[in-house]
């Protein structure tokens, strides 16, 4: 056979045949190339699409864990609601796509048939809400507010309602035991976002469309533990959605329960007293601004000294966390986040920062000792301190002569600290600092944990601010453009300040160091930071990370993961100085600025030694901030009220009432252990029953009101009352008549 056969044919045909052959082969080559492109180059992409095609997931939600108080009282749990759902797959099998069944169902539920149909239709770009945007294989909830009667009607006539189920389902509930609200600490849930679904879809715990995720507070911080693990069953389906095999099935795992250190009763007392103090403050006249105090917001923290555990944490204004359950309405959302709301969602105990005023003085006291000044002094407590043309006055321009640092704390003498801080500033080189400036006053503040998060187990804590040299420089760099543009040498006060700042805002000036020494100026702290510091002073110097979570209990109650107290440092003071400071702070409560709230009004100082420090911070353009920091052997209580007046004036009675409730102290100073809510910190964890449920004691209807009644009643009727109520439960003393309050009506002394 030769390659060129003798065909005797014209070359025209021969050439055309070759052309045909080339054409044919190139067509096949094209197919091969395309096949390679689809299978090898883009194969992974299509493989993914194919698996999405034939696997359908049915997700069974996990029951969210409860949040309990220290004694096991549920602060957030789940209530059972009757949820009526329809299975689309079953409905579509019917001749009329289940229309008749849905119409009948609408009749039972008292809804319009159209309403029900809309709820079960699938969402797409053309379908407006309401529609179902979850998996079509998932039962579609029609209502979660079915009555037992409706549910019974559906279940008993199951043959009339094919594809319809009425099942009890868990829905989040914030129980508010004893009217304690705890809103900002608990946080809230809101529906999962598309982004989160996409992110979690390939993990072992995918979100449901209908899932709720913790957005703030404990719900967010412990979301992973509380959420549990949704059960996932993967079905292989064919092109008509018929199940052709079960691929995998993981049962749902309920979320763990979180035991907190919060005591619902103390929490209620704290909330009630904070709110009451703010209401009272609004009745007081502010002589500086010539209007009533606004008392626009406030916070109080009750902390265990030896562990850093938070027993109560209240923030005002507040809100009802149940507003978020089942999806927040647009109206509620505006109310909670709008301009006029004053932001009740903020937890001001960890997110509210303001100048601390005199409760800050423990820091410069420690700083002065560290810098080499003797605690005993004496230091001149003049009525004012002059710097150039500027006069820095003592509070209400009172002078005490030469005194020790301890006495300066007791009487809250500003000038002593002005002088010391100014002196140190000069020693460090003034506006032109030495290379290795000591900056004792600033360094000590940082060592106290200020200007940084305390590490509390709540999200979005703020740091506050220590206005040291570095901060001044950074702040100036960020703002100088604005300052230099708006500043005028002879303009208004604000313009003059801007002018000065533009020129030398990068330097720490003498005035800055003086203002800073009494917690004024640019200094900012949060209530939780101050509570941590005062707890540390009380416990011998350990700065604990504040914690709300105490333990995580597995759903069956068998595994307990305790959240142990953690420390983030020690106070930079010697034992001796600490003891001296402790004594001085006791002096504040017995003969100093807080005496009129404690020692002078029947506080049993011999039984329960009280330590305190008052603070009244001035804020430019606003009314003064009230601060009150106190501690006993076991507890610290720090309260602040923005635009509320003086420290002891506005916050004093509330803090006293909180202590009264903790220890069962009556107005006359008698200690009645029966009335005490928590004379020593709660030890141990709530008892778990064998079935995994947690024992929880009953909480009175309103512990705050009862406490008030107890305290006042005892003051009047004393022993008689006690004798008569021996068998009355501690929190159930409702017989006591209300008496006109005495402390509240007292006028301010100084």
């Amino acid at each position: 056979m030769t390659n060129i056969p003798e065909t005797g044919r014209t070359p025209r045909v021969q050439i055309r045949l070759v052309v045909i052959q080339i054409l044919v082969l190139s067509l096949l080559g094209t197919l091969g190339g395309r096949l390679w492109y689809l299978q090898i180059r883009e194969g992974d992409e299509y493989a993914k699409e194919a698996s999405g095609n034939h696997v359908q997931q049915v997700v069974e939600p996990a029951v969210r864990g409860s949040i309990l108080d220290a004694r096991g009282v549920p602060l957030a749990d789940n209530e059972t609601r009757l949820v009526v759902s329809a299975s689309r797959t079953d409905l579509l099998k019917m001749k009329d796509d289940g229309k008749a069944v849905l119409a009948k169902l609408a009749g039972v539920l008292g809804m319009k048939p159209r309403e029900v149909m809309e709820k079960v239709r699938l969402c797409d770009s053309k379908t407006p809400q309401p529609c179902w945007n979850g998996s079509p294989y998932q039962p579609i909830p029609i209502t979660d507010e079915a009555t037992a009667k409706q549910a019974l009607q559906i279940r008993e006539r199951a043959e009339d309602f094919p594809g319809i189920t009425a099942e009890p389902e868990a829905v989040r509930r914030y129980a508010a035991p004893g009217k304690s609200n705890t809103a900002q600490v608990l946080g809230y849930l809101s529906p999962v976002t598309d982004e989160e679904i996409t992110k979690a879809q390939d993990t072992d715990s995918p979100y449901l469309r209908s899932d709720q995720v913790g957005r703030s507070g404990l719900e967010r911080e412990y979301d992973k533990e509380l959420r549990g693990k949704a059960g996932v069953t993967r079905y292989e389906v064919d092109n008509l959605g018929r199940v052709i095999g079960e691929a995998e099935a993981d049962p749902a795992q309920a979320g763990s329960n979180l035991v907190t250190s919060i005591d619902a009763r103390v929490q209620r007392v704290a909330e009630y007293e904070l709110n009451d103090a703010m209401k009272k403050a609004r009745l007081e006249w502010d002589r500086n601004t010539n209007e009533q105090y606004k008392a626009d917001s406030g916070a109080v923290v009750v902390m265990e000294n030896k562990t850093g555990r938070v027993v109560a944490m209240a923030s005002n204004p507040t809100y009802d966390p149940n507003a978020w359950v089942g999806g927040i309405s647009a109206k509620d959302y505006t109310r909670l986040t709008g301009k006029n709301s004053n932001y009740p969602l903020l937890n001001r105990a960890i997110q509210g920062q303001s100048a601390p005023g005199s409760i800050f003085k423990v820091v410069p006291t420690a700083a002065a000792v560290n810098a080499g000044y003797s605690f005993d002094g004496p230091y001149e407590c003049s009525s004012s301190y002059s710097l150039g043309g500027q006069v820095f006055k003592n509070f209400e321009s009172k002078g005490y002569g030469p005194i020790s640092l301890g006495r300066a704390l007791e009487v809250s003498c500003d000038t002593v600290f002005y002088r010391l801080s100014h002196e140190e500033w000069k020693r460090d080189g003034g506006t032109k600092p030495k290379k290795n400036a000591n900056d004792w006053f600033y360094k000590t503040a940082h060592q106290f944990g200020l200007g940084a998060e305390t590490g509390i187990d709540l999200p979005n804590e703020v740091t506050g601010r220590i206005p040291d040299r570095q901060w001044k420089l950074d702040y100036w760099k960020a703002n100088k453009d604005v300052w230099c543009r708006t500043g005028k040498k002879d303009g208004s006060y604000a313009e003059k300040i801007a002018y000065e700042n533009c020129l030398e805002g990068n330097r720490l000036r003498a005035g800055d160091s003086i203002n800073y020494s009494i917690g004024q100026g640019d200094t900012l702290v949060t209530p939780i930071q101050m509570a941590t510091i005062y707890s540390a002073i009380a416990n011998g110097g350990t700065l604990y990370d504040p914690t709300v979570g105490k333990a995580i209990l597995s759903p069956d109650g068998k595994t307990v993961t305790e959240i142990k107290p953690k420390s983030h440092g020690k106070l930079p003071i010697s034992k001796k100085t600490l003891a001296e400071m402790d004594e001085a702070l006791e002096g504040v409560a017995t003969r100093g600025t807080a005496a009129w709230r404690f020692a002078d009004v029947g506080w049993p100082q011999d039984k329960i030694p009280m330590h305190a420090k008052t603070g009244t911070a001035e804020v430019y353009g606003k009314q003064t901030t009230s601060w009150f920091a106190t501690y006993t052997k076991d507890y610290s209580v720090v309260m602040t009220i923005s635009q509320g007046g003086t420290g002891s004036g506005a916050s004093g009675p509330a803090v006293r009432n909180i202590y009264d409730a903790l220890y069962g102290v009556s107005d006359d100073g008698a200690v009645n252990p029966k009335n005490a809510l928590l004379p020593t910190p709660q030890k141990g964890l709530p008892k778990v029953r064998t079935d995994g449920t947690i024992k929880s004691p009953k909480v009175a209807k309103d512990p705050a009101k009862e406490q008030r009644a107890n305290q006042e009643g005892a003051a009047e009727e004393g022993g008689v009352q006690q004798a008569a109520t021996v068998n009355t439960p501690a929190t159930g003393n409702r017989n006591t008549r209300r008496r006109p309050r005495r402390r509240g009506s007292r006028r301010m002394l100084a």
Partner: protein
């Protein structure tokens, strides 16, 4: 299948006995084009596996018998093989004399389709149901008779030595011969088959040595025809929708684009070696419609991967390569034209069928030669193989 080779071609080779005669130097067995035969058998074999995989779970069409389609496919292949042997036995020259009868019969059959005897499948009214689950698609046979008829007319005077090329009058006659069944098929409407026939006519004209004017004229007419069809709304809605979906499959993924999309997902997910026979999720889940017929290539793509899909393309390449050689090497113009017509037919149909599953050609209902399930198509392609063999066998040995 060695028994197949005992057929004798009358008048060729000295008479020898037994095996020696079978494998003698110029025997039939030696002259057969084995690569084509083996490739075609391999394709039919692969086809039966793919058809089985695609249909064993489709209870709604396989009457509850998973082997229903497998058995039928093998039967079809057997019948096709027998038809091939018959064709070789008769020889294409003998068939040449019978062309008028065959042509007439095939035209009669497609006319029958237009009567109430015909039935509609997937929008095309191109079937005659015989009964017992069998049905006939006469347009498949028309492809052969068009090739044979045109070849007869075009080659008559050239092979007689009168002219070097067919003259205009002959070409016109040949075109007329092709046009009649094509018009009927277009009325069904079976656009895919019409497209194949147009390509066949083009291939036949090219191979016949007809003047370039005819070739380019036909191309121009084809283009003009396409525009006319588009403008005059001759196409049914489903056909326009298929083309639109080809242009943009994501346009309507649940509707018209569904086929194309699912086909591409099936093939793409196969990767290099595929998910293994009977393990393709797209195939088991029946996501690709018409998977045993028009979309049979997706089964290969998903379950056998690039290796399997490539093998099918290579086997088709072998058939076409050998067919081209046969066209070039035969001495008679008649044989050349018939072979070229078959090449044009197979090549276009394979390209269109695989191309549509790969998303580079619009969706039309054309089977993949040898592989797709379907009796008529299987018979027709095997007859074509028989014609090719016959052309090769009957050419004088060049040595």
């Amino acid at each position: 299948m060695t028994g197949a080779n005992t057929f004798q071609v009358s008048g060729y080779g000295p008479q020898r006995a037994g095996w020696a005669r079978l494998f003698a130097r110029d025997s039939l067995a030696r002259r057969l084009d084995w690569p084509i035969l083996l490739a075609a058998l391999a394709l039919s074999g692969i086809g039966s596996l793919l058809v089985f995989s695609a249909t064993r779970n489709r209870t709604e069409i396989n009457q509850g018998d998973p082997y229903y389609f497998l058995i039928r496919h093998i039967m079809n292949t057997g019948i096709g093989f027998a038809l091939m042997l018959g064709t070789v036995w008769l020889g294409h020259r003998t068939l040449r004399t019978a062309v008028p009868i065959l042509y007439g019969a095939s035209v009669f059959l497609i006319l029958m389709v237009l009567t109430p005897l015909g039935s509609t499948v997937n929008g095309a009214h191109s079937w005659i149901v015989i009964g017992g689950g069998f049905s006939l698609q006469p347009s498949e046979f028309v492809k052969i008779t068009i090739i044979l008829g045109m070849a007869m007319l075009l080659a008559a005077r050239v092979d007689a030595g009168d002219k070097p090329h067919p003259d205009h009058r002959t070409v016109l006659q040949a075109l007329g011969l092709a046009a009649v069944p094509m018009l009927i098929v277009m009325l069904m409407p079976d656009l895919g088959s019409v497209m194949v026939m147009v390509i066949i006519v083009l291939g036949v004209l090219l191979a016949s040595g007809a003047s370039n004017r005819w070739v380019f004229g036909l191309l121009g007419a084809g283009a003009a025809g396409a525009i006319a069809v588009w403008q005059l709304h001759i196409l049914d809605d489903y056909q326009i929708a298929r083309f639109a979906a080809f242009a943009n499959p994501s346009l309507d993924p649940a509707g018209v684009g569904y086929n194309t999309n699912q086909a591409r997902i099936a093939i793409g997910s196969g990767g290099l070696t595929g998910s293994g026979l009977f393990h393709g999720s797209q195939t088991t889940g029946q996501f690709v419609p018409e998977q045993q017929t028009d979309f049979v290539f997706t089964v290969a793509g998903e379950e056998l991967g690039f290796v399997g899909g490539g093998l099918i393309i290579v086997l088709l390449g072998v058939v076409l390569w050998r067919a081209c050689r046969i066209a070039r090497e035969t001495t008679e113009l008649y044989g050349t034209i018939v072979a070229a017509g078959i090449v044009a037919w197979f090549a276009f149909q394979a390209f269109e069928n695989i191309g549509m599953t790969l998303g580079i050609m619009p969706v039309t209902g054309l089977p993949l030669p040898f592989v797709s399930y379907g009796g008529s198509s299987m018979f027709a392609v095997w007859v074509a193989v028989g014609l090719l063999q016959s052309i090769r066998v009957q050419r004088p040995m060049s040595a």
